[in-house]
């Protein structure tokens, strides 16, 4: 696969925020996720669980509950006491309404999506009407003291069940009265301890399912107020609960990191009597599982260890394939690192600051696998702190290293960085032109003369960078047919001729930068684009889709290349298609035009177009076996995919020059040590 000198970068101290809540779009194919830092992400089931949209968080706005209403409108509520509606095309908060009951702990939409109920700190349950362009307060429910931690609507929208401390209550929606109050106490040797109902679900049969801080999952008959079944699943709290749409399966998440599935199974063959049975236990998380969701084909859980785990239900799968893979997402599906190739700098993006590092260097050479001693240590040059509560959307450093740009929800910043010996000076570029904010992606041209800013409604701005520290708005591209969604990926050709932009509708538009004209649109493909890049020599656009397909599109000829057609005809290797994480970055080796370098979280791959594609019988990851083969046999075994799994989890990989790679890793254990301690558990044999 070629020999490279590798900078193994482990100083990117990213700590992903824990998962706070999850919401599956009803009958839809999307999952909304909120993190503890207030960021909201949208995953698309149809696009193989690709992280489609990210709305960065805001220090002033935490998200405690998310729900979908009125089709595809997403609402979030948090301890700030406000209900916010998210604009999923502009990826920001559209508007927010104060709940009027203090911090909001829970929110639920009714089955038709016309009403929202919120549970507040002061013990009130308030109803809001979802109207076009916003929400309107409708009425208060009967108020009692004790915060409402969880809410659930009856599928017929007539009743609401609310879980509080030591009790659960059922409200009649039309009258607003409490119609049932059930105490869920827990007595140990006559000592009463506080029992927190963490999560609740109202089934259409009239059964209320609660999960509480004593590790119990209980099934209540709300009309009689009696306990039907009680399952103790854990010694610690059961924090979250989610019911499938068919109401035959429940997933619960506990504070020990374990999740359990309950299934409604017939007691005997053919008999009508059914009972809830705890079936599958899973232990994927190390910390609290704060949120669970039940899609029609998968159990989804998110924990404070920042992991989103999607466990497909095998019995719902038709065949083993890409859908049946267990997925664990910890890191975002987008670039947080940018690299100044010439200046050998790395820019790391954190939620509220940027770090600029100079790579270390060595003057020694060694054999394969050898660790070379550094003659100059990597150096932390600059830390740029973003002011205000808003989190950073995107950032970029120019290839020459002298320009750094980043954007938040409301502001765009451009900095001129100057290096004088060992000292670094950062100067803010004044008077940046007014742009359609926020920017979703930033990209400098290869000669560092221009900056491309991906913006809302499919537009891309082109800024001319001026020495010694100024800029000028040159042009704004817009797709000819128009596009409601924001552009989220950009690619510039090395000769500065072409620009490719992908919007939220997954259409790839190619613009000519010489005459500022829309050049063409790549034939649409029904999957999300996860990465794209333009070849520096041939000007071919290489596109990776979330279903792991790879395309090569010749920009000058406005058509797919012969190699791309050949790939589509013969099909990619099965093992390649069954990988569970998307390609996040593509780059090229100018010395070797037939090589495409691409990577995802778990592997780095050199794709050699000159070699034959592997067929399904061949081993995809064959690098280690190839090494042991004699030269002649090796030639026969060679195929196009040369995969290296040494660097994991790989956040970023780029080629600095002909034989020098930079790999940015973030070992899971490094950031796990920065998380709070998990619940102590006795393990047998330790």
């Amino acid at each position: 696969m070629g020999e490279f000198e590798v900078h193994r970068v482990r100083f990117f101290g990213l700590v992903p925020a824990g998962v706070r809540c999850l919401a599956c779009q009803p009958r839809g194919a999307r999952l909304a996720l909120a993190r503890t830092d207030g960021a909201v992400e949208v995953y698309n089931f149809a696009a193989n669980y690709f992280q489609e949209k990210i709305i960065p968080g805001n220090e002033a706005r935490s998200v405690e509950a998310l729900c979908w209403a009125a089709g595809d409108r997403l609402f979030g509520a948090g301890l700030g006491g406000e209900i916010a509606e998210y604009d999923l095309s502009r990826l920001c908060v559209a508007h927010s309404v104060d709940g009027g009951g203090g911090p909001i702990w829970s929110m639920a939409a009714n089955s038709s999506g016309t009403q929202l109920a919120i549970g507040c700190e002061d013990g009130s349950v308030k109803l809001f009407q979802v109207v076009p362009g916003g929400i309107q307060f409708e009425r208060n429910m009967d108020r009692r003291t004790g915060r409402i931690l969880c809410l659930s609507w009856h599928p017929s929208d007539t009743h609401i069940a609310a879980g509080s401390i030591d009790a659960l209550r059922v409200f009649n929606v039309s009258s607003g009265q409490t119609v049932q109050r059930i105490m869920v106490n827990y007595h140990v040797h006559k000592v009463k301890r506080e029992c927190i109902v963490w999560s609740i679900a109202f089934l259409s049969s009239g059964t209320v399912v609660t999960s509480d801080s004593f590790g119990r999952v209980q099934f209540w008959d709300w009309e009689r107020g009696t306990l039907q079944e009680s399952h103790t699943v854990s010694t610690s709290a059961v924090l979250s609960l989610s019911v499938s749409e068919k109401e035959d399966s429940i997933i619960v998440g506990t504070s020990t990191g374990a999740t359990y599935q309950f299934q409604l199974l017939p007691v005997k063959t053919g008999s009508l009597e059914k009972r809830w049975v705890r079936t599958k236990p899973f232990q994927y998380h190390t910390h609290d599982v704060r949120a669970v969701a039940h899609s029609s084909t998968a159990l989804i859980s998110g924990g404070l260890d920042a992991q989103l785990v999607i466990r497909p239900l095998m019995e719902k799968m038709q065949k083993k394939g890409y859908d049946a893979a267990l997925r664990k997402f910890t890191f975002p599906h987008r670039r947080l690192v940018s690299c100044a190739r010439k200046a050998r700098l790395l820019l790391f993006q954190f939620s509220q600051h940027l770090e600029l590092w100079r790579l270390g260097s060595t003057d020694e050479t060694g054999k394969d696998g050898e660790v070379l001693p550094l003659c100059r240590m990597p150096e932390h040059l600059v830390q740029l702190k973003s002011k205000g509560p808003e989190h950073i959307y995107c950032s970029c450093v120019s290839p020459c290293g002298s320009w750094v740009a980043y954007s938040t929800a409301s502001r765009f910043h451009l900095y001129r960085v100057q290096y004088k010996g060992d000292s670094v000076s950062v100067k803010k570029v004044p008077k940046v032109p007014k742009l359609l904010l926020p920017a979703y992606q930033l990209q400098f041209s290869a000669d560092s003369g221009r900056l491309f800013i991906a913006s809302a409604r499919g537009s891309v701005h082109v800024l001319q960078l001026l020495e010694p520290g100024g800029c000028k708005h040159l042009h704004m591209f817009r797709p000819p047919s128009g596009c409601p969604d924001a552009v989220y990926l950009l690619a510039v050709s090395a000769d500065g001729h072409w620009l490719a932009a992908v919007g939220g509708d997954w259409a790839i538009h190619i613009y000519n930068l010489k005459c500022f004209k829309h050049h063409c649109t790549v034939p649409t493909y029904n999957c999300a684009v996860t990465a794209l890049a333009i070849h520096p020599i041939t000007n071919n656009l290489v596109i990776a889709y979330s279903d792991q397909q790879l395309f090569e599109f010749s920009i000058p000829e406005k058509q797919y290349t012969a190699w791309s057609r050949m790939v589509q005809n013969s099909g990619l290797h099965k093992a390649w298609l069954e990988r569970d994480s998307p390609i996040t970055h593509i780059t090229f080796n100018p010395k070797n035009p037939s090589h495409i370098l691409l990577h995802d979280i778990y592997m780095f791959c050199v794709l050699d177009k000159s070699l034959p594609l592997p067929d399904n019988s061949a081993l995809l990851m064959n690098q280690s076996t190839l090494k042991q083969l004699p030269e002649t046999a090796r030639q026969r075994q060679l195929h196009a995919f040369k995969i290296c799994k040494k660097f994991q989890p790989l956040l970023f990989a780029d080629l600095l020059d002909d034989n020098c790679l930079v790999m940015v890793e973030r070992p899971i254990m490094d950031f796990k040590t920065q998380l709070p301690l998990p619940i102590q558990q006795k393990k047998f044999g330790t």
Binding site: V233, Q263, P281
Partner: protein, 772 residues
């Protein structure tokens, strides 16, 4: 058959010609039961009366039997598949209702193929709706009504944390629910298994090793499981968090069965035939045999009633089952004469430093059990090799002395002292009084004389005799080069003799009054056991792959009783157990068995005894007993005893033969004279020699003389010495002497084992010639 209320065996039914492989109550008549056997028959019994009602012959080997309430006239059996080795199938057998005792049952239909042979691997579900069978990592469920077969398999990969091999299966009595046990200790509860795809299971995990058996309660609300941990686990509602334990059941659980009313549960354990390290010791109080029982326990086993009287926890530590973990175990036990004190030694084998504990127990009359009095940590630096109390029946407690010998080259004397600590609950405790050693040799054995005045301690090759009052070294005996293996004092009339056995194959008898060797015999003695009630001493020898028993009195070097070919195994231990009442014994040969009975324990953990009763006499009552014990695997030694008794009867036959042969041998008057006259009254060897040789010459034609006791010749010490000195000369001169040549020819025909004997004869020859 056992009564639940009284724990007694009620009835034993026999009639199968081979191993009984399955028993099932007749679901249509709860007073009847079916049994199957490897002999290919199914028998229907009326178990209250013990009468076989019907016998159905199936033909092939039956490995397991199941009876169902829903199938009126057929039972299910597992038979080997014809034509293929090690594959088995479950078939249903139609039991015809025809009259008559012996019926053919040839109507066989295959239900499941490729099942496992063990009965634990198949279970019938709710009202016989389905049958589930497991093999390796596959579960197959067959629904009778739908005629549908579902197969489920788990991943066969054995990881560090998981091994999915099925080990047992149980079906819920009322619901469609199957519980399976796995080799890694997990229990999976399967549901929804009538869907090929949407089946589901939950996992219960407590056992850390293989789940041996599972059983549902009658209502199905709880599940019982057991395994090598010897803990019975009760799972409520198949929930992982609600479980109860019944720990310390003694030994790994093999089978679990629930009673119909759900109030009782029966567990069957693996045989607890522990490695007997302590030796066979007889409790003077109960006359029970005391030996290792459960790990860390002493079991008191009553030989007469074939029952375990009780089990005494000595180690008093939780037994943790884990591979590779060294457990503290009992290695030595000794009782004082009256059974008032018990001394135990436990050790834990560690490579670096063995953990040793000596415990002294006092018999508490009130609680009728032993109570721990003193615990001594590390009584010796190294392993304790032997231990004995001063056996003085008539003396009071204060003279009670315990002696221990250790590998650390010392023996220690422990005495009781008044406890000075006012807070202590007991008035006496034990402490060390004297430490003795001899030339820094390892102490191997110790023994008190009958009156308690002398203590003999063996140090490798030397036996030292100590005064038990002053602890002075009185005298030493040695018989180089052999190291002393056993020593014991004579009793009653023979109390002036000390017997020692060495590992180079000599049995020596020293006279304590003259401090000289009285006699010695060439005998590879493994076990030397004095009878506490008579002067007899039993010695068990091991030669050419068979054990032989010799019983003698120390005062004469001629054995009273010889039993060759006692058994094929090495005998490790022996014990005399006093009889309740002296038995009337007609034969003079067995007179020594009058007051006590001799028991042996062999290498293979078989316990044997010698009996005087004739074969016929023994067999009549024993045949009944034998059967009891075969179906009685719970009590520890019953199986062993059962086996042994059968063997015993064979031995009795052998005994008869041997007896006859011996008679013939002794027809030669010379040999008879030689062997029967005490050594000290015999004329000099030179005088005896021609007669002896003549007898041998005759024996060449007769052949029987060859059988002359090959290792039993007991020569006087002088002869022995003579021969030693003059061996060289013999060899020099042997060519000239014509009688010797003649002898040489004879020798050729003699077996190699007798060469030694012949050499001796040659020496005698020489002396005889010299006398001329």
């Amino acid at each position: 058959m056992y009564s639940v209320a009284t724990e007694e065996t009620l009835r034993v039914m026999g009639g199968h010609a081979d191993l009984v492989t399955g028993i099932q109550l007749n679901p249509h008549n709860h007073m009847q039961l079916y049994s199957s056997s490897l002999d290919g028959t199914i028998k229907l019994w009326d178990f209250m009366d013990g009468i076989p009602i019907k016998t159905f012959t199936v033909g092939s080997k039956l490995l397991a039997l199941y009876a169902l309430g829903s199938s009126e006239d057929s039972v299910f059996v597992v038979i080997p598949k014809s034509g293929e080795r090690d594959t088995f199938q479950l078939v249903s057998v139609k039991l015809t209702k025809a009259a008559g005792q012996d019926l053919e049952a040839k109507e066989v239909s295959v239900v499941l193929d490729r099942v496992d042979a063990s009965p634990k691997y198949i279970a019938f579900g709710r009202e016989g709706e389905y049958v589930a069978s497991v093999k390796e990592v596959n579960l197959q469920v067959y629904f009778f009504k739908q005629k549908q077969l579902n197969r489920f398999s788990l991943s066969a990969v054995k990881t560090k944390s998981g091994n999915n091999q099925f080990t047992c299966i149980a079906c819920h009595p009322t619901e469609d629910c199957i519980a399976t046990g796995h080799a890694d200790g997990k229990i999976r509860v399967w549901r929804n298994f009538y869907h090929k795809k949407e089946y589901t299971y939950s996992t219960l995990h407590w056992h850390h090793d293989t789940v041996m058996d599972l059983a549902f309660s009658m209502e199905g609300t709880s599940l019982l499981s057991g395994g090598v941990e010897s803990v019975l686990v009760l799972w409520h509602n198949q929930s992982d968090c609600q479980k109860d334990f019944l720990p310390r059941l003694g030994s790994p659980i093999e089978y679990i069965s629930m009673a119909c009313d759900g109030t009782l549960c029966c567990t069957l354990h693996t045989d607890n035939s522990a490695d007997v390290k302590t030796g066979l010791v007889v409790d003077p109080r109960t006359k029970a045999l005391v030996l290792n029982g459960e790990p860390g326990h002493l079991q008191f086993y009553c030989l007469q009633s074939d029952q375990q009287l009780f089990s005494l926890d000595i180690v008093q530590r939780q037994y943790i089952h884990q591979a590779g973990l060294n457990q503290a175990d009992l290695v030595k036990v000794a009782f004082s004469a009256q059974g008032k004190w018990l001394a135990t030694v436990e050790e834990r084998e560690e490579v670096t430093d063995p953990e040793l504990q000596l415990k002294l127990w006092f018999y508490d009359e009130e609680t009728q059990s032993f109570k721990l009095n003193t615990r001594i940590n590390t009584p010796h630096e190294d392993q304790i090799t032997d231990m004995c109390f001063r056996d003085m029946d008539e003396l009071e407690d204060d003279s009670l002395i315990l002696v221990t010998t250790g590998r650390d080259c010392v023996f220690k004397v422990w005495v009781m002292v008044e406890d000075t600590d006012p807070e202590a609950q007991q008035s006496v405790s034990w402490s060390c009084d004297f430490v003795g050693s001899y030339h820094n040799y390892q102490a191997t054995n110790c023994c008190f004389s009958e009156d308690g005045s002398l203590l003999a301690v063996s140090f490798e090759e030397t036996v030292t005799v100590w005064d038990s009052v002053t602890w002075d070294l009185k005298c030493t005996f040695c018989h180089p080069p052999g190291k002393i293996r056993n020593i014991c004092f004579g009793r009653l009339t023979c109390s002036k003799y000390l017997i020692g056995a060495s590992d180079d194959g000599f049995l020596c008898c020293w006279n304590l009054l003259s401090c000289a060797l009285e006699w010695s015999a060439h005998l590879n003695v493994l076990v030397l056991q004095p009878d506490p009630l008579s002067e007899h001493i039993a010695a068990v020898s091991w030669l050419s792959k068979e054990s032989s028993l010799f019983v003698f009195k120390p005062n004469e070097p001629r054995p009273i009783y010889i039993q060759r070919n006692l058994c094929r195994e090495k005998i490790q231990l022996a014990a005399f157990v006093p009889r309740d009442e002296p038995e009337t014994i007609g034969s003079e040969k067995y007179l020594w068995l009058r007051r006590s009975q001799l028991f042996f324990l062999t290498d293979t953990q078989e316990l044997m005894t010698l009996s005087t009763k004739s074969l016929q006499e023994r067999l009549t009552p024993a045949s009944k007993q034998l059967a009891v014990e075969e179906s009685l695997p719970v009590t520890p030694f019953s199986l062993l005893l059962g086996k042994h008794r059968r063997q015993q009867s064979q031995e009795d036959i052998d005994l008869g033969k041997l007896f006859v042969r011996n008679k013939r041998e002794q027809d030669s008057p010379a040999v008879k004279e030689l062997l029967h006259t005490p050594a000290h009254v015999l004329p000099s060897a030179s005088f005896l020699c021609p007669i002896f040789i003549n007898s041998l010459l005759i024996s060449k034609e007769n052949k029987s003389a060859e059988e002359v006791a090959d290792e039993v010749e007991m020569e006087s010490e002088k002869t022995e010495d003579d021969s030693d000195e003059e061996r060289d000369v013999t060899e020099m001169e042997q060519e000239d002497t014509s009688p010797l040549e003649l002898l040489g020819e004879t020798t050729c025909k003699l077996s190699k084992s007798q060469e030694k004997e012949l050499r001796k004869i040659r020496k005698m020859d020489y002396s005889w010639i010299s006398a001329f």
